[in-house]
């Protein structure tokens, strides 16, 4: 059982305050984060993922009621974001194999290939990422985020560059994940926002 708590989160870049007074507590379901460009959606997701330190406040992830230490956060969180790239010079399956190994997972290649197939990349798993379209890369990023089956899934503009099939595959992944964990989804697309159980509106 995992819960996510954001306690009075604020973030400033120089003198510009991007986020302030963000308070959230959730233990399941999907939180949709929306707001105009520059309102701090991506920043908030990076703070939750531990990639960015907040200026003030605290992110508390609890695993079985106990606050998870910072080094455990990478095990609890999966992130898909536009500014997160995988290795172009490696194939999709090599990327997943590498990230599985550095996480200490002994996932078999067949299992990795199956996860790519689920996202519509069957037959292309041995092609280098550099030869992929942006939509296909987005699918591999989804497979990367789900590789360790994290209880907290952070999706920043997840349907960007995805075609209808890709968007449908993503929808089913989100639906499946929210049944057994937490999804935080940052987007401005009305269709994606509808999948949220609750909405966090960031404003100017």
């Amino acid at each position: 059982m995992v819960s996510l708590e954001l306690r009075d989160i604020s973030k400033s870049f120089g003198s510009r305050e991007v986020l302030s007074g963000i308070n959230v507590l959730m233990d399941s379901g999907c939180l949709a984060v929306t707001g105009p460009n520059g309102s701090g959606k991506s920043t908030l997701l990076r703070i939750i993922a531990g990639l960015l330190a907040p200026t003030g406040g605290q992110v508390v992830l609890r695993s079985d009621g106990r606050p998870a230490p910072p080094e455990l956060r990478r095990d609890l969180v999966g992130l898909v974001a536009p500014d997160l790239a995988l290795y172009d010079e490696l194939s999709a399956i090599e990327n997943l194999r590498f990230f599985a190994r550095v996480r200490g997972l002994r996932t078999a290649d067949a299992e990795l290939a199956a996860s790519l197939e689920k996202l519509g990349l069957a037959g292309r798993e041995n092609d280098r990422l550099g030869s992929y379209s942006s939509g296909m890369r987005q699918r591999v990023k989804c497979a990367f985020a789900l590789l360790h089956d994290p209880p907290v899934l952070l999706l920043d503009e997840p349907s960007a560059n995805l075609d209808e099939t890709g968007a449908a595959a993503l929808d089913s992944l989100v639906a499946e994940h929210r049944q057994r964990g937490i999804v935080v989804l940052a987007s401005n697309h009305p269709a994606e926002l509808r999948s949220g159980d609750c909405v966090l509106q960031l404003g100017d």
Partner: protein
């Protein structure tokens, strides 16, 4: 900036009381032993080697610099009899600047290709440090395997004590690789990475370079290992201290 939260607990689906078979999302994947950490560092090393073989990103930069410098030095002083201290200094100048041209790329490439975030999310800092350090060490040793015989040939170097020469090169390279790896992690987020890497590295590496030059000079002039023992000890101590310091500070450098 005011924030509106609209949390509706009633709409949240209930979590299943029993996890699905085969799914254990809350288990810790943090390495529990040194062996496990080394296995993950090996994964980072294998990935970097594979990437390097496919892109020649660092090898090209280092090899071009090393060969150009060697040729320039060879033409400038090859026919002139120069003293052993100058020969030893020139060898380490070539090694140092060649290393500076390529060793930073191990982290710079991660930042420039925007893959650093994925690596930070997936890998423990110790595994990243171990893998990157091993990669830089292999790169530097490979460079020396080419540079040193070429330098010996072009400069008509007469090495009296090969065991001391090789030990000095090995210890000096290890220290250079450790320091360069940590400094590369520091500068990888900066704008003027190349200049900053050399500027930051030089004062830290100065004791190592002095020891390495003295050790090499001793190897040129004497067949006895004891002639360069003090310098060898200095190099080993320096490398050990830098390695231990890097183990403590790397997490903060990498994650902040």
């Amino acid at each position: 900036m005011p924030v509106e939260t609209d949390l509706e607990p009633g709409r949240r689906p209930a979590r299943p009381d029993v996890a699905e078979p085969g799914i254990s999302p809350y288990r810790s994947l943090t390495p529990r032993s040194t062996v496990e950490m080394l296995a993950r560092a090996a994964a980072v090393f294998r990935k970097d080697i594979t990437s390097e073989f496919r892109t020649r990103y660092a090898v090209n930069a280092i090899a071009l610099f090393a060969v150009t410098t060697l040729v320039a030095v060879g033409f400038a002083v090859g026919g002139v009899g120069i003293s052993q201290p100058v020969q030893a200094s020139l060898l380490w100048i070539v090694i140092y600047f060649s290393a500076m041209s390529g060793l930073s790329r191990v982290f710079v490439r991660e930042e420039e290709a925007r893959t650093a975030s994925a690596l930070r999310l997936a890998a423990a800092p110790g595994a990243v440090l171990g893998g990157k350090l091993l990669f830089n060490l292999v790169l530097l040793v490979s460079l020396e395997v080419v540079i040193v015989p070429l330098f010996v040939g072009m400069m008509h170097l007469e090495v009296s004590g090969w065991p001391l020469m090789l030990a000095t090169l090995a210890a000096g390279s290890a220290g250079l690789a450790v320091t360069a790896t940590v400094v590369a992690a520091i500068v990888s987020k900066a704008n003027a990475k190349g200049a900053l890497f050399a500027v930051l590295s030089f004062p830290i590496l100065l004791p190592l370079l002095v020891g390495a030059i003295h050790g090499t000079q001793a190897a040129l002039s004497s067949a006895r290992f004891a002639a360069g023992m003090q310098d060898f000890k200095l190099l080993v101590s320096y490398t050990g201290v830098m390695f231990i310091v890097s183990l403590f500070v790397f997490r903060f450098i990498w994650e902040d």
